[in-house]
Symmetry: C2
Subunit: 479 residues, 2 copies
């Protein structure tokens, strides 16, 4: 975007200086200044607190107006009733963006909270301060050193997240980080008295550092603008949307959470059909889709080759894939013939779903020899392996070692395949098995292979991603 005028949100995502109003003296270790310092924010941090001189080793100022230098961004960590005064100060100081972390406004459902919120909004608007919040976690932008969770990944990625929920945003980032997913920009914007989902989406549509967008939306104030913003994003990148409050009681819960009007289920159904945005029902499902997008080049179609031990488990896997909208076609006779050669207990096992050889070392053996055979079948668009590690609990002196060994064979073989592959590792709740699966999962993610805890979530995520690609292609061919 060189040559173009910088977007005002650039300064909010990458502020050069931050005032923290209500920086706590009593809980310094957990406060915003300490959080930003620990995360490596390199700009100026100005704690604001009239009762102390210093917080986390930084000079504190009685008010925002008293700060000597210019202030790009302010974080409000003060009781709601003080917000109007602080906003007056910010306006006077020329602050560009304010994140009101504080809750206790319209989401309380009380008149007092609503009036306070309207008052703050009016002051900000008159004073030219753009506002994120109130009642939210604000911005996580690792490239700028800005965060609301100190343990969030410092690595920059190509995923952005626009979220009306705060705890949900925290949870989402951690779930994603655990899967090796890193972020460009995350914003939790709560009650949205100024900046709302469409503002962030319009910005992210043009943001070259963002290649996929996830959204958690409770309500939309300007439906048309939201729709246009999503459409703009979808022209260049996938958008996965968790629309919360779609059920009747869920809508009530959304109203009390962020004072949102949730909208009817039929309106949102139409939204997904019309735009090609990818729907998700839970934070886990958002992560699942992003994981598939990140690590699994779009399969050419919906036809999956299923690989795993256990005849019944294969039948369940097949049903589960079909229910998720995938296809499990028979292999070509030539594929079956080749598979029968490497499976001692051949016959049944050589169909699709194909059974790996007995035991964890048998699985490894099969990965080395069999995956290439399945990969070569023209009737198959991608491979899904499933390994119920909990079945192999017995008689395994070194379960973790064996599982890791098997997935390492899988990972190295995957490099030689022409089609995408995804892996399911199931664990049950035995400590040893769970930890073996976690460790093996990390190895797979490091090798760029998406790994899921069960077939249902894997199949759903992959099917949704394929649905997005199908929609995009249809839209392009219609132009």
């Amino acid at each position: 975007m060189s040559g173009e005028k910088a977007h005002f949100l650039d300064e909010i995502f990458h502020p050069k200086s931050i005032a923290i109003a209500g920086a706590s003296a009593s809980a310094q270790a957990a406060g915003w200044p300490a959080r930003l310092l620990a995360f490596g924010y390199a700009g100026h941090i100005y704690p604001v607190n009239p009762r102390v001189d210093e917080i986390s080793g930084l000079k504190a100022y009685p008010t925002v107006r008293d700060i000597p230098g210019s202030v790009d961004y302010a974080i409000f960590n003060i009781p709601a009733r003080l917000a109007p005064q602080i906003m007056e100060d910010c306006a006077a100081k020329g602050v560009k963006g304010a994140h009101i972390y504080t809750a206790g406004f319209s989401e309380t459902g009380k008149e007092e909270g609503k009036e306070l919120e309207a008052q703050v909004a009016a002051i900000a608007k008159a004073g030219g301060v753009r506002v994120i919040g109130p009642n939210c976690m604000g911005v996580y932008c690792p490239a700028a050193g800005l965060t609301f969770g100190t343990d969030f990944s410092k690595e920059t990625g190509n995923v952005s997240f626009v979220s009306q929920t705060g705890a949900g945003a925290t949870r989402f980032v951690r779930l994603a980080n655990d899967k090796g997913i890193h972020f460009s920009k995350v914003v939790s914007y709560g009650n949205a008295i100024d900046l709302d989902a469409p503002d962030f989406l319009e910005y992210l549509a043009d943001d070259e550092e963002t290649e996929i967008i996830a959204c958690y939306i409770e309500g939309v104030k300007d439906g048309r603008r939201f729709l246009e913003a999503i459409k703009k994003c979808l022209m260049t990148k996938p958008v996965v949307v968790l629309k919360a409050g779609l059920t009747e009681s869920g809508a009530g819960a959304a109203a009390s959470h962020t004072a949102s009007l949730a909208g009817s289920e039929s309106v949102w159904d139409a939204f997904f059909k019309q735009t090609g945005a990818i729907p998700a029902n839970t934070l886990e499902e958002l992560v699942d889709v992003i994981l598939a997008w990140l690590y699994m080049p779009y399969p050419k179609g919906r036809r999956v080759g299923i690989v795993g031990r256990g005849g019944g488990l294969g039948v369940i896997a097949t049903d589960t894939c079909e229910r998720a909208g995938l296809k499990v076609p028979p292999f070509l006779p030539e594929t079956r013939r080749q598979l029968e050669e490497i499976i001692p207990e051949a016959g049944a096992g050589a169909r699709n779903p194909v059974e790996t050889i007995r035991g964890m070392s048998g699985a490894a053996d099969f990965y080395a020899k069999g995956l290439k055979i399945v990969d070569a079948d023209p009737e198959i668009d991608f491979i899904l392996t499933h390994n119920a590690v909990d079945v192999y609990g017995e008689r395994q002196a070194s379960l973790q070692e064996q599982v890791v060994k098997a997935v390492e064979v899988l990972a190295s073989t995957a490099q030689t395949l022409t089609k995408p592959i995804a892996v399911v590792l199931s664990a049950g709740e035995d400590f040893e098995t769970v930890n073996a699966v976690l460790e093996a999962g990390k190895r797979l993610l490091e090798a760029g292979i998406p790994v899921y805890p069960n077939i249902e979530v894997a199949a759903k995520a992959i099917s949704r991603l394929i649905g997005y690609r199908e929609f995009s292609e249809k839209s392009k061919s219609a132009i």
Copy 2:
């Protein structure tokens, strides 16, 4: 059943002596004799192997006919082609039941396998030997010391499982054992050339040691008999059925797994509607329903009080519960008033879903004070708490300790409640968080509280169990 003639399956589930044909000399540690000895089987074990004198410290016999004492039960661990001869021997010896572990019969889809299977079946029938299998794991009956997995629980429980799949049965038992679920009888019966699901179901219907039945079914040979057997069970106990092969490709997979005709989806839809059997799509779902039944007395209705931290997470939880067929009604004003008294950040948080106090210690505080308030609301039939432990990863020096402390407060408070409670603990994939959740989950299960990894599976399982109760009550009132 005192005074009644013993059922022939009693001897198969509790054999006094077992011959193991094809007891392996080379893989003794992993062989059937070693497995039964390790599990504590107290009857006579007779290894049969013409090439050795002793296996696992037990005298081996060249053939079944050479065994000196009487033989109740025989396990076939021999190549398929030897099965007819061994069955002749069993018939001659007066063996009552045979478990053909061996695969390579009709499930191969080959004429040779089909003929061999028919031959064995004919010999068994003529000789009065009842057969489990072939191509299956056989019987797990902890009270009899009989097992196919050495690490299965030795504790006897009130759950029985009738399974056409072998690896699936192994997986199911381990998943269930991990949740503190123990078994009365488990049978994996594979190709079912003689004993089939209806035989086991008819027996379990009258079995006083079985209070809930789970089934994994691929195909049914005699639909009417299966239906009647399930109905007989359902007159006195719930039955959860995983019908595998319901999709088109799944049916194909089932055909090659156990040579089953899967039947159409509409037929099975009608089956569930007509009988009140509880449907499940995966082994995990089977376990989920049993867990709810075991630890959660039937709620009076579908109205759930949701308790957990995170406004957005509460909205997602509400949508998820409603989608699963539960209801999330508003609390009575008096309930809200009382909740607001104990929640410092009151207002929004006091509705249903209600938010616990900030942090893991806040959750514990809320469990101690707030659960009783929710429990007392007459609009609520049961409570579901959700705790996304992954949100609390930051700033927790001793996460596991804090989570365990919180659930211990939850467990002790639960004892004082008048309504059932279920708990969701979510973990992500961080090692520390996962292990904290596993440990906390064990404590809850020990306290008799069902615990689930996410709201979706919890809501689905509880809703299905309630559906069963509703069906039973309607059926009774119709009589």
